[in-house]
């Protein structure tokens, strides 16, 4: 081809025209981000599946990833940065913040751009118009309802600046880190890197199991100018392995000789972006047989890891009590699928070496664990590793494991140059951890009055090629296998089984959502057998304060399940009556209502998981909150400020904030296990109390003194107090637990979240499709620190529960994108009624406990309960895709 070098392209963005010397086929998104530095436009998939990159082209919304920059020449391009300065931009920002419509914020620019297109032609749209306009943007956090509300309501915020808020505990303050998510200035993993950073491209296995030979590397480098290095196993200066558990570092940074899953990494090319992306790196693969769970558990099966007989990584057990005679029994076998986290932000970051320190900036849920992994692979002490978390564009457990961090650190360390990488969507999906597919058999009984007698539970959880969080899942599942009920005899076993599948790790609920599907289905069968209403059956058997669980733990406080069920009862009766009336009309649509309960232990299972929070107040009145808890969108930054402010007695607006930098903040553990409000919240409370006590002592004031801090002047009961030194106060909390013994006896968690949810739906009995009408969710949260953020967590958990129940099935090699792998879109989440029950937890800050995972667990079982109510069909293959619903219907 002898095409002339293209002339510069005149691109007008937010009213400014630039002459860009770019190839004409360059994606508009790349021109905006990489050339103009407008990183408010986010890249989620580069395939038009997620809408995160939505911008306006002459006022019409388009995916910037699919527009050749040549076609944008001569048009008006508007990005979130440009919108932010407009009347509608400001109204949308205010409305999104007021409604809690931005969580992680990675989809937010796309959402507001789509909304801007709509509002420009219709300032007061209806819900259908909002869905039509915003339905092309996927959100994984919010469950969409609050986004819809925010757009419907945006006109009310025109020319109305938001009023400042005190931020007391219980107040619905907008998230403190929200404004940057609305104007595009938030920096996610792909949004920042030193200008001279090299680019890293991982080389991965396309085979589930294979031996491999790398090409001759000097020859490759000679043929590929611009590629500075090829990193392989032999280049890792420390331990070529990482993993969640200190004694299981089984996942190599770069595999040696053999790969164990499709996506396993064998090498990385480092150099100029163009050079590493263009290079053909010919690895010779010899595919080997790949084991699934059945094959891995067969007698004589080859072992993935030589020291693990039977390919069993961990077996968790809870055995207790003796069974009373059962009048009715029920059994079920359930098979679930891999579920992809599908955070809209793919993994990304950079690393650089500064002297003998390595800095890693990346999207993460666990900076302190990242520090341990990076130090391990570099073979250096942890205090020479600085982890700087980027804003996290969704995690849900998937960013608890390292991804880019070890290989970036190795590259930056060896080359002594900054190095960055951004995973493409398919790479993110095929390399990252998943929710464990579970093969569960369970059997349970009740007496003639409907009181539960026993449950026996056996689950094989496909933990994939490497350990990741497999032991955590196998340990947590048996504890939760009985659900939040009085069950006299429990025998529960869960195994984490190695296969040649992607590593299964942490995903919102750690295996409990899969278990709840089986266990709640049994309760429905037993309720019918005993002639009891399904909700009343759960009321009869619900765990109450003072009961003893199957692990021998007496739960004394904050057992709000009964209150949840009682709050649901009027909704249950009304929705049941409505379904009956609909069904009386006949037709192919059958209506049903389902109910399910859940419990969830907050924090690690029978293991220490402390948090430390620090406050500093300088003599010139600067109050800083050093908070190591990563806010992955759930709102911990805001909630922890509210708690610290309440304990200290000052409003949240006076705090400056340093977040999650391992050189600056104390260890707050990881953002997982629904622990940040409960554990870090209690630590923040203690820090606030300690600083307050110090101030009051210096002012010689009583406990009830009023503090103020304005214009750098600290006042106690109105009298200014001058400090001669900086005050530092730390709070630490480690929830009291007792490790489980070989029968699963102990105190696995200091407290539990409880919930009950109702799903109302219609089944199209001819096509097997499900139309959800309503979810009603009652959650015992101990104390609602910020009801808006709590509702957001519950909505988002429900949306993921809907996905788990009805559509999400990750198949390696087949659904490695966001059009074959389906997550709920805007129209899939029905109206949700949220009922917050506050049964205070004495250990928690102001009585609070966690909600992140509890939000999800009950949803899929409630949906299946409703499908069975509507049609009699029992769903045993998850997800309930239309063809599976029809198959279940035919089985009856």
């Amino acid at each position: 081809m002898n095409a002339m070098p293209p002339p510069p392209i005149a691109l007008t963005v937010n009213g400014q025209t630039h002459a860009l010397p770019l190839p004409p086929a360059t994606r508009l998104s790349a021109a905006l981000r990489d050339t103009l530095g407008l990183t408010g436009t986010k890249i989620g998939c580069d395939a038009g599946d997620c809408g995160a990159c939505t911008v306006l082209l002459d006022g019409a919304q388009v995916c910037a990833c699919m527009v050749p920059v040549a076609q944008a020449a001569g048009a008006q391009v508007t990005t979130v940065e440009g919108l932010a300065g407009t009347r509608w931009g400001q109204a949308l920002a205010a409305s999104f913040l007021h409604h809690g419509a931005a969580q992680c914020g990675i989809c937010t620019p796309g959402m507001v751009m789509a909304a801007a297109e709509l509002l420009a032609r219709d300032a007061t749209p209806d819900e259908a118009a909002v869905e039509a306009a915003l339905g092309g943007v996927l959100c994984r956090c919010t469950g969409y309802r609050k986004i819809t509300d925010a757009v419907l309501d945006a006109h009310r915020f025109l020319d109305t600046p938001p009023a400042p808020e005190s931020g007391a505990v219980g107040a619905r303050i907008p998230r403190l880190d929200g404004p940057a998510k609305l104007d595009g200035s938030e920096r996610y993993g792909a949004d920042a890197a030193p200008a001279d950073a090299l680019w890293l491209r991982p080389i991965r296995s396309p085979h589930a199991h294979a031996r491999f030979t790398l090409p001759d590397i000097p020859q490759f480098l000679a043929a590929n100018p611009g590629v500075e290095a090829v990193l392989t196993a032999r280049d890792v200066p420390g331990r070529n392995g990482f993993g969640i558990y200190p004694h299981i570092k089984d996942q190599p940074v770069f595999a040696e000789h053999t790969v164990l899953y499709r996506g396993d990494c064998v090498a990385a090319l480092v150099g100029t972006r163009d050079a590493v992306l263009r290079a053909e790196f010919p690895v010779a693969w010899v595919p080997l047989p790949a084991l699934d769970v059945t094959a891995a558990r067969a007698d004589g099966a080859p072992l993935l890891h030589a020291h693990l007989p039977g390919n069993i990584l961990t077996t968790g057990r809870v055995v207790s009590g003796t069974a009373a005679p059962a009048a009715h029994t029920a059994r079920i076998a359930v098979q679930t699928s891999f579920v992809e986290h599908a955070y809209i932000e793919p993994e990304a970051g950079y690393a650089q070496r500064i002297g003998d320190v390595v800095e890693v900036f990346a999207s993460t849920q666990a900076p302190y664990m990242d520090r341990e992994e990076v130090a391990g692979v570099l073979g250096i002490p942890e205090d020479r590793v600085r982890i700087i978390p980027s804003a996290c564009g969704g995690g849900f457990g998937g960013k608890l494991d390292v991804a880019v961090q070890p290989m970036l650190a190795v590259a930056a360390w060896l080359l002594n140059k900054p190095v960055r990488t951004i995973y493409a969507r398919p790479e993110s999906m095929l390399s990252s951890t998943k929710r464990h597919p579970a093969s569960i058999t369970a059997e349970a009984g009740c007496d003639a009055q409907g009181r539960l007698t026993h449950i026996h539970f056996d689950g094989d959880y496909d933990t994939g090629a490497y350990a990741s969080w497999g032991p955590t899942v196998a340990g947590r599942v048996p504890v939760h296998a009985s659900g939040p009920y009085r069950v006299p005899q429990v025998a529960a076993v869960a195994r984490a089984v190695h296969t040649h599948n992607p590593p299964s790790g942490a995903f919102r609920g750690f295996g409990v959502p899969q278990a709840a599907i089986a266990q709640e289905a049994l309760w429905d069968q037993l309720a019918d057998a005993a002639g009891l209403d399904r909700l009343e059956f759960r009321v009869l058997n619900a765990l109450r304060a003072g009961d003893t669980t199957a692990t021998g733990q007496r739960v004394e406080h904050s057992v709000g399940l009964l209150a949840c069920l009682e709050a649901l009862r009027p909704h249950w009766q009304a929705l049941r009556a409505r379904a009956a009336a609909e069904n009386a009309r006949g037709g192919a649509l059958r209506h049903g209502v389902g109910v399910a309960c859940m419990w969830y232990g907050i924090g690690n299972t029978g293991m220490s998981n402390p948090s430390t929070m620090r406050l500093e107040l300088t003599p010139d009145g600067a109050l800083t909150f050093f908070n190591g808890a990563v806010d992955i969108g759930q709102g911990s930054t805001t909630v922890l400020h509210q708690i610290a402010a309440e304990a200290l007695g000052l409003p949240v607006v006076v705090f400056a904030h340093v977040n999650g930098d391992t050189f600056l903040t104390p260890d707050a553990g990881k953002t997982s296990a629904s622990r940040q409000t409960f554990v870090s919240g209690r630590a923040a409370f203690e820090a606030g109390r300690a600083l307050r006590a110090d101030i009051l002592r210096r002012a010689n004031a009583g406990d009830d003194a009023a503090l103020s801090l304005e214009a750098g002047v600290l006042r106690v009961n109105g009298a200014s107090l001058h400090l001669h030194e900086t005050l530092r106060a730390e709070g630490r909390f480690d929830p009291p637990t007792v490790p489980l013994d070989e029968n699963g006896q102990g105190i696995p968690y200091a407290t539990y979240g409880f919930a009950a949810q109702i799903a109302a739906l219609a089944v199209d009995t001819r096509l097997g499709t499900i139309k959800l009408y309503r979810i009603v969710a009652a959650h015992d949260v101990g104390r609602a620190i910020n009801p808006t953020l709590l509702e957001g967590q519950i909505h988002g958990g429900i949306a993921q529960g809907i996905g788990l129940a009805l559509m999400e099935e990750y198949i390696p090699g087949r659904t490695e994108n966001l059009h074959d792998y389906l997550i709920p879109s805007m129209g899939d989440v029905p109206p949700i009624d949220t009922i917050l029950i506050e049964d205070p937890e004495p250990l928690g800050p102001c009585g609070a406990k966690g909600v992140g995972e509890p939000a999800l667990v009950a949803t899929a079982p409630a949906i299946y309960s409703a499908i069975r109510d509507a049609t009699g069909a029992v769903i045993t293959r998850v997800p309930a895709l239309p063809h599976r619903v029809l198959e279940a219907l035919r089985r009856g």
Partner: protein
């Protein structure tokens, strides 16, 4: 919106990738000359081509690609009851004032991707991409649309049912551009599109159908039915259309439920089993024709 992806661009030495060439002609004759000389990949809205690139780059560099950007060719624009130009987007089709027989096409236009895709993707591109699940095909089969193909050697018209040959394969030669769809006069009857998917928005169809029925009193006087995603190429069901003539609503429902449909050969994939598709096909047809 990509037309089918060329095989001739795939030969590359391992260590030296050729550069892309990008042509943006402003007239059709100029474009056809470029097609004859370079056989580039025609580009309209890019909504198939860019996702293809993302998929092609997962395991390494993609092949070089020569692009022919058609967006500057004014002659390819426009939507009317007789002609849909190659650059007509889904949104333009959805918002155009068109006769009732076009309703299925307009309903499909609002269910292809999100609004972002509808604002950019073109109807012609959807046909040229030739996915078995292309939502545009059944509504256009219903209209007996013809595809106009142009090359430097001349112009030809080919029935849509002859244009799409197989999964991802069309009758377009590498020198040709699909310049327009031509639609004959239609019965004054509203058509209907039925899409079956596992979620509400942004979903690839498990099956979809377009149908129309003209009633003479209580009996069907004319019926047209087309179905997609149940065979490698979406099909008109002429046998069923004939069988429906003269049927009452109840009889029609029975015929749709029972008549053998040899045109269909549904496959099993991640979206549904073959048996499910075979059964669901009849149901979406019934809803499209009888709703």
């Amino acid at each position: 919106m990509a037309q089918y992806l060329p095989v001739e661009c795939r030969a590359n030495s391992p260590y030296a990738r050729k550069m892309d060439a990008y042509f943006r002609p402003m007239s059709l004759p100029e474009a056809l000359d470029l097609m004859a000389r370079h056989r580039p990949q025609p580009l309209a809205g890019g909504t198939d081509l860019y996702p293809w690139i993302t998929g092609a780059e997962v395991w390494g560099p993609r092949p070089a690609l020569n692009w022919l950007d058609m967006s500057g060719i004014a002659a390819l624009r426009g939507v009317s009851a007789t002609r849909i130009g190659a650059l007509a987007t889904w949104t333009e089709v959805a918002e155009a004032a068109l006769p009732p027989a076009f309703r299925a096409l307009q309903q499909a236009a609002r269910q292809v991707g999100g609004r972002q895709v509808q604002n950019r993707g073109t109807v012609l591109g959807n046909l040229c991409n030739a996915s078995p699940a292309a939502d545009g095909v059944p509504p256009l089969l219903l209209l007996d649309a013809e595809v106009e193909l142009a090359s430097a050697a001349g112009t030809r018209r080919i029935a849509l049912s002859q244009f799409i040959l197989h999964n991802r394969r069309t009758a377009r030669t590498p020198e040709e551009i699909a310049v327009a769809l031509h639609i004959p006069a239609q019965p004054d009857v509203e058509s209907r599109f039925e899409k079956l998917g596992a979620r509400k928005q942004l979903v690839i169809s498990i099956a979809m159908a377009a149908g129309l029925a003209r009633w003479d009193g209580k009996r069907i006087a004319q019926a047209r039915v087309a179905i997609g995603a149940c065979s490698p190429v979406a099909r008109r069901l002429h046998g069923l259309e004939a069988a429906l003539l003269g049927a009452t609503r109840d009889e029609a429902a029975q015929i749709i439920a029972r008549l053998p449909l040899p045109e269909l050969s549904p496959i099993a994939d991640v979206r549904g089993s073959a048996a499910y598709r075979a059964a669901a096909a009849r149901d979406v047809v019934a809803r499209a024709v009888l709703a």
